[in-house]
Symmetry: C2
Subunit: 204 residues, 2 copies
DNA sequence: GATAAAATTGAGTAATCATTCAAGTTTATC
DNA sequence: GATAAACTTGAATGATTACTCAATTTTATC
């Protein structure tokens, strides 16, 4: 029948993801991808269709893995607010990890891509919207659990948290000490925890 | 003697700035610049040296104009804290303005540029550091004026504000309503104002 | 108007870009 | 081992990239 793919598709995609995350869409050439994937142009195009298509698949993979880690963090904490704070504190250590970039790949893409890469741009938008929903859900859960004053707006809080994370990670892209980013994340986490209602709200 | 430059240097630089801010460094081609500046390659290179050099000058202009607006906002308010809050609220209207991009050009550059554009990257870093200093100064002034609890760290607050602004503007780059960004900025401004010490601290 | 300095032009460079496809290689099934 | 399907190869494509430079045009001064 057929020849088994010597290059695992997921593995190739992961390598492409690392490269795109580090260098961005425009600065990543097909030559770079050929080297990173150890594949010749024909194979790359047969497998992924186009540079643009490969990039979009990389975006989806990035987002999927990010969501998994997010959910995993949430599940480790019974309190929704504690889960969100823990996620922020985890991001404080982003400089200590060996990552292709400290900035979020979705944000990098959102800021880099223009009309000529509309499809990929839309993809990044869509995936960011998905993340936003998750944050909002957590704040809603916190509210249901009585952790949060019922007058606060989970939608606003979710968006604010997303903006805060975007900012933290963009800031971390600067040439700054790990300790600085840790302190920043800790400060953000404390702001979040300060929203915790002192007493569980009475349900009349 | 000489022929007077028909293209005002500042004017050309402004056009280049608009283009670079909108499309980023890599996606802006010399063809694009030729059209926007109405200059032929020879003139561009005689005037600015290289695409990279032109970009760095554009970065500097962007930062200079940004700093002017920042200082102007601060001077309009006697209270440092009120000035910072007003700047944040002003950013809430960023979607209503016709700008090349809602995201900060320095942040876009920081996230886009790699080792191959090290000089421009360093320039963006340096200019961001300059902005950070301004924010820190304002928080220090607020502390001296007794607006801020003396136990708070102006350095941390300044960095946090910069991260928050980076986040707000990156978020505003998403396909969101103007009202959403206004609400986000208002929320951030209120957080800032909530730091105001209720009473002026006693100077023992 | 002659001269010279400065500014501009635009065709041309070599390199790189994403992409294609005919030919070759590998593998599964008979 | 023959067949066929799947996969890989890599030279070639035409477009685009940043950049150069000899020739030209413009302007200031005399």
């Amino acid at each position: 029948m057929a020849r088994a793919s010597i290059h695992n598709r997921q593995d190739s995609l992961e390598r492409a993801l690392q490269l795109f995350w580090q260098k961005g869409f425009h600065a990543t050439s097909l030559k770079d991808l050929e080297k990173a994937l150890d594949m010749r142009p024909g194979s790359i195009y047969a497998t992924f269709g186009s540079k643009d298509g490969l990039f979009q698949e990389a975006l989806e993979r990035y987002s999927r893995l990010g969501l998994v880690e997010l959910e995993r963090t949430f599940q480790a904490y019974e309190s929704p607010l504690a889960g969100l704070a823990a996620y922020l504190r985890g991001l404080g250590g982003i400089c200590d990890k060996e990552l292709p970039s400290r900035a979020c790949m979705l944000v990098k893409s959102l800021l880099e891509l223009g009309e000529r890469e509309q499809a990929a741009r839309d993809k990044a938008e869509e995936l960011l919207a998905g993340m936003e929903v998750l944050f909002i859900d957590r704040f809603s859960a916190a509210q249901r659990a009585g952790e949060l004053n019922s007058r606060l707006d989970p939608v606003l809080l979710g968006r604010r948290l997303q903006a805060e994370i975007m900012g933290l990670r963009a800031f971390a892209q600067r040439d700054v000490d790990s300790a600085t980013v840790h302190a920043l994340a800790e400060d953000m986490a404390q702001s979040l925890e300060a929203m915790r209602a002192e007493e569980v709200a009475d349900t009349i």
